[in-house]
Symmetry: C2
Subunit: 380 residues, 2 copies
C-alpha cells in the first residue's frame, strides 16, 4: 500500500495532474484542438529551454534527438569533437561512429567536469572542426559541465563552429540561456526534469544551426529536423505526434508557470545542497566536487557490498528507489535523483532512511546527523 518514492535520475515521477492531462481523451492531430495545444506549448516552452527560437517536439526518445542534431548539423566527412565524460558521452560517440563523420573524442575522466583550458588546447590543436558536442549534465556521473565556458572556447576557436548541447537531465532543472552560453542547438528528452513519461524529445536551434540544417544533405526522413520546423510554423508536426504526451507537456508547462521557473531552479539547487550536505555528514564520499555538482542528481562512492546493502534496504524497508552506477561505475557509486517532481521533504526522507540503514550497518549512531546538515543547507 505504501506509495513508492522514486528518486532515480530518470524516469522520474509524474505529477498526478499531468497523468490526468494525458488521459483527457484523444484528439485528432490534424484538428484545431491540436493546433491550439501546440500553439500554447510553444508560447510557454521557450523559457524552460532559455531559447527564443522554436522548440521542435519529436515523437521519440532522447537518443534520437542527439542523432537528429548530429545528422542535421554535420555533413559527410566533416570533423567534429565529442566531449565524452560518462555513459551518455559514450552513446554520443556511438551515434557519431554510425555516421560518415571524422570524430575526435575528448575524454573526460568519469566524475570530473570539463577542464576548459585543457579542452581549449585539445580543440585548438585540430583544424576544420565543424561542431562540438557535449552533455550539459552527464547523468551517469552527476556532473554538470561548465557549458558557458565550453561554448566560449568553441566560439573563440571559430565563430562558425557549432556548439551542440545534450540537455537531458538538465533542461527543466537548471537554467539555460542558449545565447549567453553560445549554444547553437540544445536537445533533451521528456522523462527527466520535465516530469513526463519518456516518449517525446526536443530540439531547439538558433539561426546559424537552422541554416546548417537546411543545407545538410545526409539521407534522412523521420529525423529530418527541417520538416519539424516547417510544420511548427503551422503549429503542427510532420508526422503523427504522441498526442497524449504533448497534452501532458502542456500541463507541465502550466505547472512551471505556476511555481515560477526561478523558484523551480532554486528548489533544485536547494535539494542538491541538502543531499550533498547530508551524505557528507554520513561520512559518504561524493563522486563530484562542488564546482561541477549537478542540481539534478548526486552520486556517492562506497564499497560494493555497502552500496548494494543501502540500495536494497532503501527499496525493501522504505519503498525508496535510487539508482546504481553504470558501466565503469557499476558497483562503485549510487545516484540519488533530485529533479522534476521531487521536493526538499523527499531529500529529508531519503537521508533519514540512510541514517537508519547506516546506523545498523556500521553499528554506530548516525541519527540526526544527515538531517541536521540537510536542514542547515535548506535554510542557507
Amino acid at each position: 500500500m505504501e506509495p513508492k518514492l522514486l528518486l532515480t535520475p530518470g524516469p522520474t515521477p509524474i505529477p498526478p495532474e499531468v497523468s490526468q492531462a494525458m488521459s483527457q481523451g484523444m484528439i485528432g492531430h490534424r484538428s484545431s484542438d491540436f493546433t491550439e495545444l501546440m500553439q500554447h506549448v510553444q508560447s510557454n516552452i521557450g523559457e524552460v529551454f532559455g531559447s527564443k527560437y522554436p522548440v521542435a517536439v519529436l515523437t521519440s526518445s532522447g537518443t534520437s534527438a542527439l542523432e537528429t542534431a548530429m545528422i542535421n548539423l554535420v555533413g559527410k566527412d566533416e570533423s567534429i569533437i565529442i566531449i565524452a565524460s560518462g555513459a551518455f558521452g559514450d552513446r554520443f560517440k556511438n551515434i557519431a561512429k554510425a555516421h560518415p563523420f571524422h570524430v575526435y573524442v575528448y575524454e573526460v575522466p568519469w566524475g570530473e567536469g570539463v577542464n576548459v583550458q585543457e579542452f581549449e588546447a585539445f580543440l585548438n590543436d585540430k583544424s576544420d572542426i565543424r561542431a562540438v558536442f557535449s552533455q550539459a549534465c552527464e547523468t551517469s556521473t552527476a556532473v554538470l559541465h561548465p557549458v558557458k565556458e565550453i561554448g566560449r572556447a568553441v566560439k573563440n576557436y571559430d565563430p562558425s563552429t557549432l556548439f551542440i548541447v545534450d540537455g537531458v537531465s538538465a533542461v527543466g532543472g537548471t537554467p539555460f540561456d542558449i545565447e549567453a552560453q553560445s549554444i547553437d542547438c540544445l536537445v533533451t528528452g521528456s522523462q527527466k526534469a520535465l516530469m513526463l513519461p519518456p516518449g517525446i524529445a526536443f530540439v531547439t536551434m538558433n539561426e546559424a544551426a537552422r541554416v546548417r540544417a537546411s543545407q545538410n544533405r545526409l539521407p534522412k526522413f523521420y529525423l529530418d529536423i527541417n520538416q519539424y520546423f516547417s510544420a511548427l510554423e503551422k503549429h503542427s508536426t510532420p508526422f503523427t505526434p504522441a498526442v497524449s504526451l504533448i497534452q501532458g507537456l502542456d500541463k507541465v508547462l502550466s505547472i512551471y508557470k505556476e511555481e515560477g521557473i526561478d523558484n523551480i531552479f532554486d528548489r533544485h539547487m536547494k535539494m542538491k545542497n541538502m543531499i550533498r550536505a547530508g551524505l557528507t555528514a554520513l561520512g559518504l564520499e561524493l563522486l563530484v566536487e562542488e564546482a561541477y555538482a549537478s542540481p539534478t542528481v548526486t552520486a556517492f562512492k562506497g564499497e560494493e557490498a555497502e552500496l548494494s546493502h543501502i540500495k536494497d534496504t532503501l527499496q525493501k524497508e522504505f519503498g525508496i528507489t535510487i539508482a546504481g552506477g553504470q558501466k565503469q561505475l557499476k558497483g562503485k557509486i549510487l545516484r540519488i535523483g533530485h529533479m522534476g517532481y521531487m521536493f526538499p521533504k523527499d531529500m529529508l526522507a531519503v537521508l533519514a532512511a540512510l541514517e537508519s540503514i547506516l546506523s545498523r550497518y556500521h553499528n554506530k549512531n548516525y541519527y540526526g546527523t544527515a538531517l541536521t546538515a540537510a536542514q542547515e543547507a535548506y535554510h542557507e
Copy 2:
C-alpha cells in the same frame, strides 16, 4: 457535457482501462518491473501481428517504422518497388526518395485495390528488384489490398525479394498471417486499431529479413532495427522506451485476449458491412468496391457542399467526428473509422444521425432507411 464520439481512422478512442494503465505510475525502464512488462507484451503480441517472430517496439510514430523497414532492408543503389495508392503510399515514396535507392513506383488509382495481374506484369518487367513495399490498408482511401496475392507475386518473381507491408490501420482490425501472406516484414503504429495514443511503432521480421537487416550498411543509429531485436532477447529496449504507452499496450493485449482475437476481427467485418449497407441505403456512393473494402474504415463520395454540411452537422449537433479526404480526395469524400474501440452501436448512431441530417438536407424522408439496412447486415 455530451461525450464525443470519435469515428475517425486514427487517432482512435482509448479505452478507459487503457488510459488507467498508462497512469499507473513510472517504472524504471531498466528495472525488473519493465523486463516483466516487456516479456508479457511479447507473449501476447504475436497473435495480433500473425507473426511467430519477435515484434520490436520503437518509441516513435508509424512513419519511422516505415523508414526503419526501408533503411534496414534496402542497401545503397538497390532497386525497390513502392506500391502507391493514396496519401500514405505517397509518404512511402517520399521516404524512399530521401535515401540512396533506385525507386520504381507502381501507381494505383486512389480508391482502387491493387490489380495483381497488372502489378505482376509491372514487376516482371524489372530486374534486380530487392524489395516491394505496400500498404495493407491505405487509410486515405479505405482500400484493403489483396496482400496475400501481392506477396505470392513477389515470391514468384524471386523468392529472395522481400515483401514489406505497412500495417497501419490494418493490424489489430484484420487478420494477418505473415507466413501465409509471404510478408517478410510487417510494421505499424499504435494509434489505429491498436487502441493506443500515437507514440510507439512496431516492426516484426522473419528470418530472411533479419539476415538482410544484419547485413545492411546504411548509416543509422536510432532506427537500426538490429539493436531493437538484440535488446528484445533480454526483454529490453536499446533506448529509453515510452514506458507509459507500453503499459497501455500490455492492457490492450489483455483486452484482445479477453474479447478473443477472432471475435475482434468479426466485429470489424460486421461494422464494415453495417456502415456500407447503411450508406448505400442512403443513396451515398461508396468510394471502394466490396472486394477491396477495408474492415477498418469506409469512404463515401459526394458533392463538396453536401459532404461539408454532413461533417459539420455530425460534429455540431451530434458530437460525432468523422474524417474528410486527403490531398486529391479532399472535398470529394468523407471517411468513417470503424476500428479499435468502436462498436456496432456506434455504427447505428452515426447512421441514424446521417438519416436525420440528409432528411433535412434533401427535404426527403430517410428515417429508418440506413438503420434497417445496417441491422440486416448486423444479423447476416
